[in-house]
Amino acid sequence: MTILTDASVAVSPTALEPAAITIEALGKRYGTGPLVLDNINLSIPAGQFVCLLGASGCGKSTLLNIIAGLEKPTEGAVTVASGKAAVMFQDAALFPWLTAGRNVELALKLRGVRRKDRWGDALELLDLVNLADAADKRPHELSGGMRQRVALARSLAQDRKVLLMDEPFAALDAITRDLLHEELERVWRQTGRTIVFVTHNVREAARLGQRILLMSSRPGRIANEWTISDTQTRRIESPEVARLGDEITDQLREEIRRNAT
């Protein structure tokens, strides 16, 4: 397995780029209940940062879990070209009985990294999220933002080309979230991973995504999508983000209104 280290791949994906994730005619329902996801077709090029946006209950987390292989689709197929994907959840879900360093190390162990290399690699990964000094701290001694950074380091430890993130910053305060946006973007540019980022925060999507997919609710479909051609770092307060955010919010509200009885 080769790893994308070429930054240009991450910054300027084109249609020629091989698809990292392909979703074809995907449908999902639980038992005999209503359709949760309906006919989702999607091709995500390698190295793209995709934000999946929608109101609560639109099935965006379900879609992410299906891509992650945690749930099975009812119809259709999902192909992740590189095999399995790394996943990061809203709750950092660190193992409370292990220190931050050991949490990252466990991911390396389960990946099959040799024992003598593990601790050094874990420290390097923690340093990547600026937490090398916190390696010996236990999760409950860390702030919410630090826990999420450890979780990010842990998912990077899996060394998979695709990183799926399920509202990872939703529970954080605005200042911390803002910093983590920067951190994540930097890690993404550095490692060239394909990221699918689920959120219900329009500004967050407009701040981070190269491509934003808006999902409708009940059943979940891809209602619209935006591609941001300017790949420079955007600040969340910037007028571009605000303008894009307004546009997306209008559509999102339209989708929500359709569900009124």
Partner: protein, 306 residues
């Protein structure tokens, strides 16, 4: 991917990027702002906080007892004073009966408890991880936990006669359900997210059990062990009171019953105190330190208990 694949991606970190340094400083600043300040008490202070209140209460209770004896002057054979009871305790000590009884009971209780752990743990694991077994055996085990294990004494005497086997059988019937149920509830209380993380990280079934499920279930399992010990100790006392004679040794329960036959209330109360004291000692010396360490490492300790 070869098992020894190294992470290449993280070695390309540009260190000369000024905006990255800026971000690092920002993050460090925020981290130190959000860090929970640690206010450790010294070990001496902690011990003092833990030991002083119960000792003061004990002194107050004994004093109230003595005052009652002095004022009401009850019949000493019905309500002995603290001095009589401590006298009985001292005479049992000087005749070596107390030491013998404590040693015999502790040995039986400890051995019985260890056997119960060895039997209860696999049963608990099986129940927690295997749904059909759980449906079939779960209610029975919960029922056994409610059933006083003394109820098994008559049956055990018929099966095993007046012997140590009877005592151990009663201990097991008391402790095994608690230990198994503790492990089951420990496993049930594992946040589902942790298992999902295990799956996402690619853990095999065995790795999931040893690296995720067992450590995550440890607090629940441990409280099951504690309860198991309490049940074992209680069952043992009940069994020793009832099962007397034959080649059975001299335990605290036996001593209690002997004192009753002699109508020696001071001796009875002294033995009760000894039983209570052993129970408290085991809790304080063995279980409490392990539990405190276990919970503190996971951040599960309430601030007041630190």
């Amino acid at each position: 991917m070869p098992p020894d694949a190294r992470i290449d991606t993280i070695r390309i970190a540009p260190t000369n990027d000024p905006s990255h340094d800026e971000l690092r400083r920002l993050e460090s600043g925020l981290d130190s702002l959000q860090a929970v300040p640690d206010t450790p008490h010294g070990a001496f202070r902690r011990t003092l906080d833990g030991v002083l209140p119960p000792i003061l209460l004990l002194i107050a209770l004994v004093a109230a007892w003595q005052v009652y004896i002095l004022i009401a002057k009850p019949r000493p054979d019905l309500i002995p004073g603290p001095l009589d009871v401590f006298g009985a305790l001292a005479s049992a000590w000087s005749s070596d009966r107390l030491q013998l009884a404590v040693a015999t009971s502790l040995e039986r209780g400890g051995l019985g408890f260890i056997i119960a752990v060895v039997i209860g743990t696999p049963i608990g694991l099986l129940l927690a991880e295997c749904r059909p077994v759980r449906r079939a055996l779960g209610p029975l085990l919960s029922g056994l936990q409610v059933l006083p294990s003394v109820a098994w004494v008559p049956a055990a005497i018929i099966w095993f006669g007046i012997s140590d086997a009877t005592v151990y059988f009663v201990i097991l019937m008391g402790a095994v359900p608690s230990i198994a149920n503790g492990l089951v509830s420990g496993v049930d209380q594992i946040p589902p997210q942790l298992r999902r993380v295990g799956t996402v990280l690619g853990a095999s079934r065995f790795e999931m059990a040893t690296l995720v499920v067992l450590p995550a279930a440890l607090p629940g399992y441990f409280s099951g062990l504690k309860q198991g010990w309490a049940f074992a100790w209680r069952s043992l006392m009940a069994a020793e009171i009832i099962v007397i004679g034959g080649n059975i040794g001299f335990g605290l329960g036996t001593m209690l019953d002997q004192n009753r036959e002699l109508a020696d209330l001071s001796g009875v109360l002294a033995t009760i105190l000894a039983i209570l004291f052993v129970g408290i000692l085991v809790e304080l010396v063995i279980f409490a330190p392990i539990e405190r360490r276990l919970l503190r490492r996971r951040g599960l300790m309430a601030a007041g208990l630190r």
